[in-house]
Structures are given as C-alpha cells and as structure tokens.
Symmetry: C2
Subunit: 233 residues, 2 copies
C-alpha cells in the first residue's frame, strides 16, 4: 500500500516531521498536495471521514490519521521506526514535547491571532520571542539534552534512531533558521542535542532525500520564520 | 498495582484529564501531590528516570509516563477506556486536538510569557482572548460537533464512552468557567457537544467522584481562569 500524505505544499511546516519518517523508513508515499496543489488539499480534507482538524494527515487505505504525533505513532509501530514496550511510550512522550515546542515557536511570530499577519502583531511578537529565547529554549533544549544523556545509546531511546530523533533534528534545524544568533549562543550547552542533529543529517537513509527537491527549505510562510528582530543572542 | 498520579495539588489543570479517566475507569491510584504537597512533587519529578518535562505524570511500577495524551493512550489500552483498532488512533487524535485547544485557552491569559503574571500581559491577553473567542472556539467546537455528528453513537467514537469523551467534558467545563458569556452565546451551535458534556456529568461511574473533595474546582491559578475582561458574547 502506498500512503497518501496531505500537507500544505509551499512550506516544510508540520508535514516535514511526517515526511522525514516516511523517507528515512523507505516507506512508499505520494505527497498529494505537492502533486495536485493546495486547492486539492482543501477539497480532499473536507471530504474525508473522519475529517481532519488540520493538515498534515495520512491516508492509509480506509484509515485517515491526523495530528503529527499520532501519524508518527502509527508509522512507528507499523514500520519499526520506534522501539517496542515502555520505550514506545517514551518516544511518543518526546514527540509530544517536540510538538509543544513547535507550537510555541510558531507563536513567537503569531502570539495573539493566528489568522492575522505577523506585521499586525509585531510588538506582541517581540515580547513573546524574547521570552521564548530566554526561558523556553533552555527549558526544552535542556530537557532534550538530559534525555539524551540518560539514553543507553546516541539516540533518544537507545542505539537505534526512532521517529523522534528525526523530529528533534527538524526542530533544531527550524530553531537555527528562525533564531540563528540565539541557537549559536546556546549550542555549547546542548552538545548531545546538536550531535544528534548532525547524526540525522548524516543518515545514509536520508541522503537522497536531502539532495532532492522533495526537501523544502524554510521560509516566512511556515512555522519557523527568520525575522531578525525576533532573534538575539 | 496502584498507580501514582503526580500533579500540582491546588488546581484541576491538566491533571484533571487523567484523574477523570482513572475515576471513571474505577482504577486504583494515589494522588500523590495532593497527599504530600507541591514540594514533594518537585522532588519526586527531579528524581524520576526518565525525568518528566512537566506534570502530570503517572508512575506505573517502573514505568514513568508523562504528557496527558500519552498517559491516556496508556490507560485507554490497559483498562479498556478506548476502542481497539483504527478508532483507537481516532480517539487519540481527538485527545491531541483537545490538548491543542487547552494550550490555546491557557495562552489567552498568558499570551507572551508563561513565567510572568497575567497582570503584566493584560493588553496582549485582551487581544489574544478576543481572537480565541471569535475564531478558535468556533473552529475547535465546530470540529468536535462534526465528529460527534458522524459518530455511530452518542460518544465521540461510538456507543461507549472513551477517555476522550471525559476530556471533552472537562474542556467544555473549563471553557464555560473561563468564558461564560461566550459559551452561552454559542451553546446552540454545538448541541451534540453540550449533550456530551451533560452525559459525562451524569455518568454513574463519576457521581461519587463529583461529590467528593477529590474533584477540584476551577480557580485563577489554573489553565482555565475567569477574568471577566477576557470574556464577551
């Protein structure tokens, strides 16, 4: 079975966390909205049962699965992208914590109204981004670092990579894109997290993908946006 | 085995979503921080491996599980509080969407800095709350309503309640506490969601709990806070 992945075509966004798992797992999928466009996505989503709350969603035969962490839970089990037993729950816990940080990173440029433009909430964004840089980046990255320190291998849950490692890579990449000064300033505090980022970047399973145009660059329509005024060491 | 639930003792907060599942499932648990206090929680959390990112967390023998949706996924499977097969993923998807709305409801009073007081971010909160009332309440509640409409029973995933139904009840209760004017104004738009709220309130499994002092009232230290200036029809 070839899965269908549906996500907004112009940004890596939340879809990229699913895409990385599909690509690294060598799993066949059609990236539907990149083939057919955003209007096809809107139409498809409205007709699905159950109708997803938002993209991304994965269509697996008759099953429609939405919410990134839920999709990865499904793929992790079906394709061996996560350990079994209690560590499966731990990998999911890491993924849900990644999801929380992604939402906060998004809110640095959209703190008061998701529907409005960034330009219309800039004073609030400056304040939100300052708090995110000062308090939230250390809190989240410190926890990821401690989890890596306590792992029995180089990956978040042992000696094999899981989907959560791929997501941590994408999270660090996004943070480095959005907050290059701040992430450079704190890199030395989180050596294991940055080494994990490098290890995923070097995964043989992902080299063809990274070299392809399937891998989308970050931009200022996505979750991670580089507005220099929101960054600072 | 008696589970240990750890959560801040003075508020219903995110812990209540777990507590409702434990209570409705007739599952034995010790509500540790309500017995031993917040300092005991802080100490316990620091010593756990893996160390949770934040409360609530559940201790099940040697396993420590954090993130509300993850705890409920575990309890749902272990105690039959969710259907099997693809609908298990759907119930988890609903729960993750509830979690997203909870985070946004929290941010109405803490839009720019989680560490600061509400009083220090009031102009931003007024704007965030207005957008939440106008756009987010209809978006989320409309989706929950459609999911109930498409269910083959009165509950979110069929003819038996699941942990996600309990969470939807607590979500509606929290929203009614925080935004009584707005929720009264939209109640007619979401008849199934409000009927679900009533059905959970009437569950025989929960009557003893609701009548006990284990059930904590909402207050202005929690996620759902009633600040009249943030409400409006």
């Amino acid at each position: 079975m070839t899965y269908q992945l549906w996500y907004w075509p112009g940004i890596p966004g939340r879809g990229e966390f699913v895409r990385l798992a599909l690509e690294a797992g060598g799993i066949a999928y059609a990236d539907k909205a990149r083939e057919d466009g955003a209007e096809a996505l809107i139409k498809d989503m409205a007709e699905r049962r159950p109708e997803p709350f938002a993209p991304p969603y994965l269509v697996a035969g008759k099953t429609v699965i939405a919410q990134v962490a839920n999709i990865l839970l499904f793929l992790g089990k079906a394709h061996g992208l996560a350990p079994k037993g209690p560590r499966r729950l731990f990998v999911h816990e890491v993924q849900l914590t990644v999801a929380d940080m992604i939402a906060e990173a998004h809110d640095t440029h959209h703190p008061v109204a998701a529907m409005d433009y960034y330009e219309d909430q800039k004073p609030e964004a400056l304040r939100k981004a300052a708090a995110f840089r000062a308090a939230r980046i250390p809190k989240y990255c410190g926890w990821f670092e401690r989890m890596l320190e306590r792992s029995r291998g180089d990956w978040i849950a042992g000696k094999r990579w899981s989907y959560a490692d791929l997501s941590l890579f994408q999270l660090v990449e996004g943070l480095r894109y959005a907050f290059p000064q701040r992430m450079a300033a704190v890199a030395g505090d989180y050596p294991r997290l940055f080494a994990l980022r490098d290890a995923v970047a070097a995964l043989p399973e992902l080299q063809a993908y990274f070299a392809s145009d399937r891998r989308l660059p970050f931009n200022e329509q996505g979750i991670f946006r580089h507005y220099p005024e929101l960054d600072g060491a």
